[in-house]
Amino acid sequence: MRVVLSNSAGVPLYQQIKEQLGTAILTGELAEGSALPSVRALARDLRISIITTTRAYAELAAEGFIATVPGKGAYVLPLDSALVREQLLRQIEDGLQAALTAARQAGIRRDELIGILDGLIQAEQHDAVR
């Protein structure tokens, strides 16, 4: 597990922890069932406040990424839980919405937009094959 916090990112610390752990879980870097340090151990290791760490864990738990065991620590939940899927869908929507907004500003129409998306998918498949 790795968490790298920036003091000048303009993103709250709890958000940074949440995003980094969330990403690690989604990419499979943190496998189902793997143990996470307790809130207090993580706060100590990162030298941040307990309230901040508690908040990050609480939000990860609320989104179905992890389950916390009071007094012990936390562990990664199975990825296929409905909550995670919903979370991912929301992320997709957010991303596409951002793309749409940009497209509107640039005057790019539907066909062109879909073309870009197809291109990206193909490039990713190409990368995966190679």
């Binding site: 207090r40 706060a43 941040i48 007094g71």
Partner: protein, 311 residues
């Protein structure tokens, strides 16, 4: 008396020398967290801590410490570790003698733990107390507090006079201590950077009164820093400028977040750091002598000049 509080002060008042006194000091810390007590020199931090530890009689209010009313049974002190800004040990004692002297007083003294901590902190057991540097003396007091297995650590100005490396070590030690959720830490400081990251709760003290207390985020959200031209922060109604600072080039003040909306559009409103809050809240109130140009401007007199201790 609830056991989930490390301590609580409720309406505490005490008269100190001169006309300085603590007035209606009320704040509490839940078990398991760190609180920073911030205030300028002379704000009343040490007096507050001494009241909490039962070293000073209070005239008003009540204090609860680890579930007991203060002054409680002396056995309560088994659970409290105190680290002051000066050592209170005989200078000629070697660190081994410090242990031999203090150990009989504590029920749960951990001799092996003491030796291990001295090693971890780089303290020579054969060294004498008087030969320790400030940072080493502080670490010795921490080693003592941890060896008698205190549940609450109280630091008075631990980081003043410490080099950055030792201050960082202190942050690490506090983190280690708090891994046990039954442990809590209170520390008074005028150096806010130590609190920026590890502080859970913050209490602002100014001239013997509590200005604000709450989680660090609550405190940070409660204020905004305002920067503007030299005359932009004059004649404001309904906005209290805290610790306003004016120069020919510009002016700066702290305001309460809910009042920030009342400021005009041509001022810069930003989220403050703890340091900025401490600086503005701790700024001395200017002497209220009539200066030319004020007479015709009652609004300014009423609001802009009222600086310092917001209540």
């Amino acid at each position: 008396m609830s056991s989930d509080l490390a301590f609580a002060l409720r309406g505490v008042g005490t008269a100190v020398a001169g006309n300085f006194r603590l007035r209606d000091v009320t704040f509490e810390l839940p078990t398991g967290y760190v609180m920073g007590l911030i205030g300028a020199n002379g704000a009343g931090k040490t007096t507050t801590i001494r009241c909490l530890l039962g070293m000073r009689r209070i005239d008003a209010g009540e204090i609860e410490l680890l579930g007991h009313r203060v002054p409680g049974p002396v056995e309560l002190r088994q659970d409290v570790g105190v680290v002051l800004d000066h050592t209170c040990l005989v200078g000629d004692w070697r660190l081994t003698e410090v242990e031999r002297t203090l150990r009989p007083f504590y029920d749960r003294w951990d001799a092996a733990g003491y030796r291990r901590l001295l090693g971890e902190f780089g303290l020579d057991p054969r060294a004498r107390v008087k030969d320790l540097s400030r940072g080493m003396a502080m670490k010795l007091m921490i080693a003592v507090a941890l060896s008698h297995q205190a549940r609450l650590l109280v630091f008075d100005e631990p980081s003043s006079g410490l080099d950055p490396v030792t201050r960082d070590e202190l942050v690490g030690i506090i983190g280690d201590f708090l891994v046990d959720e039954g442990h809590s830490v209170l520390f008074s400081t005028h150096i806010t950077s130590d609190l920026d990251r590890i502080g859970d709760y913050v209490t602002l003290l100014h001239e013997g009164r509590i200005v604000r207390t709450g989680t660090k985020d609550e405190i940070l959200d409660a204020y905004r820093i305002v920067r503007a031209g030299p005359d932009d922060l004059r004649g404001l109604v309904g906005v209290q400028l805290i610790g306003a600072r004016r120069t020919p080039a510009g002016s700066q003040a702290l305001v309460r977040t809910e009042e920030a909306a009342l400021l005009g559009g041509d001022v810069l409103v930003e989220a403050p750091t703890l340091e900025e809050i401490a600086v503005h809240v701790g700024a001395r109130a200017p002497r209220r002598e009539p200066d030319p140009g004020v007479e015709g401007d009652p609004a300014r007199h009423a609001s802009s000049l009222s600086t310092g201790g917001a209540s």
